[in-house]
C-alpha cells in the first residue's frame, strides 16, 4: 500500500442519495478517511448520517457518486462481500445462539478451521473481558455486556472497516461513558478504521480523531474535536456543538479576519470572522458560556459588555449564571464553583469580559 493510499484509505467521492427520486437526503458527500482513523458522523436525526453509513455497508444503494475502499470502488459490491464489520444500536446479537456462537458466526461463514475459530473466539472473549460468558445467550447479559459482544463480533473477522450506528444509544449515561472508554481502548489496541454515527456530541468529542458534522445532507465541517469546538466554521456547527450565547449585531468592517461588530445595545465588540459577510451585514456573535468572565484575570480582554443579573442555577461543579443585555438578549456564563464565584442578587449590574479569539461572528442565515 502506498503512503497516498493510507491517507485516503476510504474515500467518498460525490456521493448522493435520494429515496423518492425527488429530493436528495445526502447531497454531494465527499470525505477521505485515513487507515486507522476514528471518524464520527455527527448530526441531528434526519440529517443523513445513517444513510451514509448504510450506503457504506451496502444496505442502501448509492444514487450517484462512488465509494472507494483501499483504492477499489465498492459502490456496487454486495454487502456480504465488502468485509465491513458493523455494530448496531440494538446490538443485533443472534438471540438463538450463545455468545461464543455469535462470535464464531463470521468465522464460520468464512469457512475457517474449527480449532482456529475456537482459539480466536476465546481471544476476543478475553479481549472484551467476558471469557466466562461464552456459553450464555444474549438475553442473559446486561446491556453493556451485549454491546461489548456486538463490538467483538464486528471485529473478530478483521474487517477492513468497522461501522458503528449509534452503538451506545440504548445504554444509560454511566454505562455509555464506560463503553466510550472501552471502544477507545480497543481502537487504540487493534488499530481498526471506524466510522461512527452518533447524535451525542459529547460522545463524538471524547472518542473521535475527526468529526464530520452533518446537517441537511451536507457536511458542515469536518475537523478534529478541538478545532470543531474552538473554531466552528458556521453558526450551525457552533450551535450544535456545545452551548452558545448568540448575540445579534451588525458587522461594521472586517480587517484581517477580525470583525468589528456593533451590537443592538450600541456597544462595539470585536470577533473572529468565520463566515461573517462584509460590512453592514447582519450577524450573530457566538460566545461559549465558559469563555465569559466576570472577574478579569491576567489576560487581556478586548471586549466588555454590561449586563443585568437575572438568575443562577446551581449545577454542582459549576454554576450557571443568567444575565440580560439591555435589549433583552440573554447571556449565559458558566463559572467554576470555587471561592471566587460571584455572589449576585437579581437586578445587579455586572460587567462581562470576553476575548476576541473566543468570539465568532457568523452571518445570519
Amino acid at each position: 500500500m502506498t503512503a497516498d493510499n493510507a491517507s485516503h484509505y476510504l474515500r467518498f467521492d460525490g456521493v448522493k442519495k435520494s429515496y423518492d427520486q425527488k429530493s436528495l437526503v445526502v447531497k454531494d458527500f465527499n470525505l477521505d478517511i485515513a487507515k486507522g482513523e476514528f471518524l464520527t458522523l455527527l448530526g441531528p436525526s434526519g440529517s443523513g448520517k445513517t444513510t451514509v453509513l448504510m450506503m457504506m455497508a451496502g444496505f442502501e444503494s448509492v444514487t450517484s457518486g462512488d465509494i472507494l475502499l483501499d483504492g477499489h470502488p465498492v459502490t456496487r459490491t454486495a454487502p456480504y462481500k465488502r468485509n465491513i464489520g458493523m455494530v448496531f444500536q440494538n446490538y443485533a446479537l443472534f438471540p438463538h445462539m450463545s455468545i461464543a456462537e455469535n462470535l464464531a458466526y463470521p468465522l464460520k461463514v468464512r469457512k475457517m478451521a474449527k480449532a482456529e475459530i475456537t482459539e480466536r473466539v476465546y481471544k476476543y472473549l478475553k479481549l472484551i473481558e467476558l471469557d466466562q460468558f461464552g456459553g450464555r445467550t444474549p438475553a442473559q447479559l446486561s446491556g453493556g455486556q451485549r454491546q461489548r459482544v456486538a463490538l467483538a463480533r464486528a471485529l473478530i473477522f478483521k474487517p477492513s472497516l468497522v461501522l458503528m450506528d449509534e452503538p451506545l444509544g440504548a445504554l444509560d449515561k454511566k454505562l455509555r461513558e464506560q463503553m466510550q472508554l472501552e471502544i477507545t481502548r480497543l481502537h487504540k489496541k487493534l488499530g481498526f478504521t471506524v466510522i461512527y454515527v452518533t447524535h451525542d456530541q459529547s460522545e463524538a468529542l471524547t472518542m473521535s480523531d475527526r468529526i464530520a458534522v452533518f446537517e441537511d445532507g451536507v457536511v458542515q465541517q469536518c475537523a478534529s474535536p478541538e478545532e470543531l469546538y474552538e473554531q466552528p466554521a458556521n453558526s450551525f456547527v457552533a450551535d450544535f456543538i456545545g452551548e452558545n450565547n448568540l448575540l445579534p449585531g451588525t458587522v461594521i468592517e472586517t480587517v484581517k479576519g477580525i470583525a468589528k461588530v456593533k451590537m443592538l445595545t450600541g456597544d462595539e465588540i470585536t470577533a473572529r470572522c468565520a463566515d461573517c459577510g462584509e460590512g453592514n451585514s447582519e450577524c450573530v456573535v457566538s460566545v461559549r458560556p465558559e469563555k465569559v468572565f466576570i472577574v478579569p484575570g491576567d489576560h487581556h480582554y478586548e471586549n466588555k459588555i454590561t449586563v443585568k443579573f437575572t438568575n443562577c442555577l446551581y449545577v454542582g461543579d459549576f454554576i450557571r449564571y443568567f444575565f440580560e443585555l439591555p435589549d433583552g438578549t440573554e447571556v449565559v456564563a458558566k463559572f467554576l464553583n470555587d471561592h471566587v464565584a460571584p455572589k449576585l442578587s437579581e437586578g445587579d449590574k455586572a460587567s462581562l469580559y470576553i476575548r476576541t479569539k473566543d468570539c465568532f461572528a457568523f452571518k445570519v442565515k
Binding site: 455497508a57 454487502p79 456480504y80 464489520g85 458493523m86 443485533a92 458466526y105 461463514v109 464486528a154 473477522f157
Partner: protein, 426 residues
C-alpha cells in the same frame, strides 16, 4: 476467621430490624389472601360456566366409553342368575325362565327394542330374535312363564338353544366394559377372553392413520402458503400490511359454512373450476374433485390458513430487521443468513402455527362432512356417525377419548423435543 469474613458474616445475617413481627406477618398474609380471593371471585363465573358447558359434558361423555349400564338395568335378575352358569353348555332352565319373565316385563314396558339393539352389538343377528320372542311372550301368563319359561323361549326361536346368545347376554350385561375401546382399536376378545385382532372389519386404526396423514398434509400446505405471506406481511410497510392483514382475516370472520359451501360451488362437477377448464379445452370431461380427500384437504387448508399466518406474523414482526443485516455484514450470503439467522428465530411462531393447525384439523368435522364424501372422511365423522345414526354412544366416546389421548401424546412429544414454552401465539 479473618476480620473481613467476619464483617461479611455480619452483613449477611439479618439484623433484628429486618425481621417481621408476627403481627406484620399475619397482616401480610391477610393481604395476600384477600388478593387471591378477589382474583378467584373474578374468574368464578367463568369457571362455573366452563364446568357445566365443557368439563361436565365431556367428562360424562368420556365415562360412557367404559360405562355401559343399559342391559344391566333392563334384565338385572337374569344377569344375577346367570352368574351361577359356568359358560359351557346351556344354562339352567330356571335361568331361561327368568329371562323369559324379564322379556315379558320389557315387552309390556315397550323396552325390548332397546335390549335387542344392545345385545345385537355383541352378537349380530340377535336383534330380531329378541324382538320376535318378546312379542310372543307378551301374551303368556305370568304363572306359566315361571314354570315353563324355558320351553317358551326354545319354542319361540332356535337361537335360544345356542350358548352364544347367553354368552352375549353376559358380555352385554357388564356395567363396566373395555369393549368399546377394543372396538375402537380394531381389537376384540375371543371366547377364551384374550385380546386379539378383530377378525371381521378393521376400519378405525386405518381411519386414525388417514386422519393423521391428512392433518399433516394440511399443516404442511398451510406452512408452505403461510410462511412466505407472513414474511411479506411482517416486512411490508404498515399501510400495505394492514390492508393485506384484513384480506387474511376476512375469511376468518366469514361463516365457516359459507366458506365450505363456496368450495362445493368451486369444485363440483359443473362447478367453476371444471367449466373453466373445459371451456379452455384443458380437459375434455369434468374432473371428479368434490367428495374426495383432495377437496377436504384444499378446503381445510383454506379455512385453517389464518391460524398459521397469525402466529408466524406476530413472531416475524418481533424479529429485529438488523439481524439479517448483521449476518450479511459478517459475510453471510442472503440465503445462508436466512437459514442460519432468520429461520431459527421464527420457530416459535412456526411451531405454534403448525400445532394449532394440526390439532384443529385432526378433530375437524364440518368441512370433511360437507365436501369429503366417503373418501375424505376423518375420524370425527365416524364419531358423529356413532352419535347420531348408530346410536352407539359408548363407541363414539371411546373413539373420542382415543383421539384426545392421541393429541395429548403428540403434544407431549412436541414438548419433549421442541419445548412448549417456545410456542408464541401472539
Amino acid at each position: 476467621m479473618t476480620p473481613l469474613t467476619q464483617i461479611n458474616a455480619e452483613i449477611t445475617t439479618h439484623p433484628a430490624g429486618d425481621l417481621l413481627t408476627s403481627e406484620e406477618v399475619s397482616l401480610a398474609r391477610r393481604e395476600l389472601r384477600r388478593k387471591k380471593l378477589i382474583a378467584l371471585a373474578l374468574v368464578i363465573p367463568l369457571l362455573i360456566f366452563l364446568f357445566f358447558t365443557f368439563v361436565a359434558p365431556i367428562g360424562t361423555m368420556l365415562y360412557r366409553s367404559v360405562y355401559n349400564p343399559t342391559v344391566a338395568e333392563l334384565i338385572p335378575q337374569t344377569l344375577s342368575s346367570l352368574e351361577s352358569w359356568d359358560g359351557q353348555g346351556m344354562p339352567d332352565k330356571a335361568v331361561m325362565s327368568q329371562m323369559a319373565a324379564d322379556m315379558k316385563r320389557l315387552a309390556n314396558l315397550r323396552k325390548s327394542g332397546k335390549l335387542a339393539e344392545s345385545i345385537n352389538r355383541y352378537l349380530p343377528g340377535t336383534s330380531s330374535v329378541i324382538k320376535s320372542t318378546a312379542r310372543k311372550l307378551r301374551r303368556k301368563d305370568d304363572q306359566k312363564i315361571i314354570s315353563q319359561g324355558a320351553e317358551f323361549l326354545l319354542a319361540a326361536n332356535d337361537k335360544w338353544s345356542q350358548p352364544e346368545i347367553w354368552q352375549a347376554l353376559i358380555k352385554a350385561g357388564k356395567v363396566y366394559t373395555d369393549g368399546y375401546f377394543l372396538t375402537a382399536l380394531d381389537l376384540e376378545r375371543n371366547d377364551a377372553g384374550d385380546i386379539q385382532q378383530r377378525t371381521s372389519t378393521q376400519i378405525y386404526i386405518k381411519l386414525y392413520a388417514k386422519t393423521l396423514r391428512m392433518a399433516l398434509i394440511i399443516t404442511f400446505m398451510c406452512l408452505l402458503l403461510g410462511y412466505p405471506l407472513a414474511y411479506y406481511l411482517a416486512n411490508a410497510p404498515s399501510k400495505t400490511a394492514n390492508m393485506l392483514m384484513i384480506l387474511v382475516l376476512l375469511p376468518f370472520w366469514t361463516s365457516l359454512l359459507v366458506r365450505t359451501t363456496a368450495w362445493i360451488a368451486m369444485l363440483q362437477t359443473n362447478g367453476v373450476i371444471n367449466s373453466l377448464l373445459t371451456s379452455l379445452h384443458v380437459i375434455s370431461s369434468p374432473l371428479e374433485m368434490l367428495y374426495t380427500e383432495f377437496s377436504t384437504i384444499i378446503a381445510m387448508t383454506h379455512i385453517l390458513l389464518p391460524f398459521m399466518i397469525l402466529p408466524l406474523y406476530s413472531v416475524m414482526k418481533g424479529i429485529d430487521p438488523s439481524l439479517m443485516r448483521a449476518a450479511m455484514s459478517m459475510g453471510a450470503k442472503p440465503p445462508s443468513a436466512f437459514i442460519s439467522v432468520y429461520f431459527p428465530n421464527t420457530l416459535p411462531g412456526l411451531s405454534a402455527g403448525a400445532l394449532l393447525v394440526f390439532i384443529i384439523s385432526v378433530g375437524y368435522y364440518i368441512t370433511p362432512a360437507l365436501v369429503g364424501g366417503t373418501d375424505g372422511q376423518m375420524i370425527s365423522n365416524i364419531i358423529a356417525f356413532h352419535m347420531q345414526q348408530s346410536n352407539n354412544w359408548g363407541l363414539a366416546a371411546a373413539l373420542g377419548s382415543l383421539l384426545l389421548v392421541l393429541i395429548l401424546t403428540l403434544y407431549w412429544v412436541y414438548d419433549r423435543f421442541v419445548g412448549a414454552s417456545n410456542i408464541k401465539l401472539g
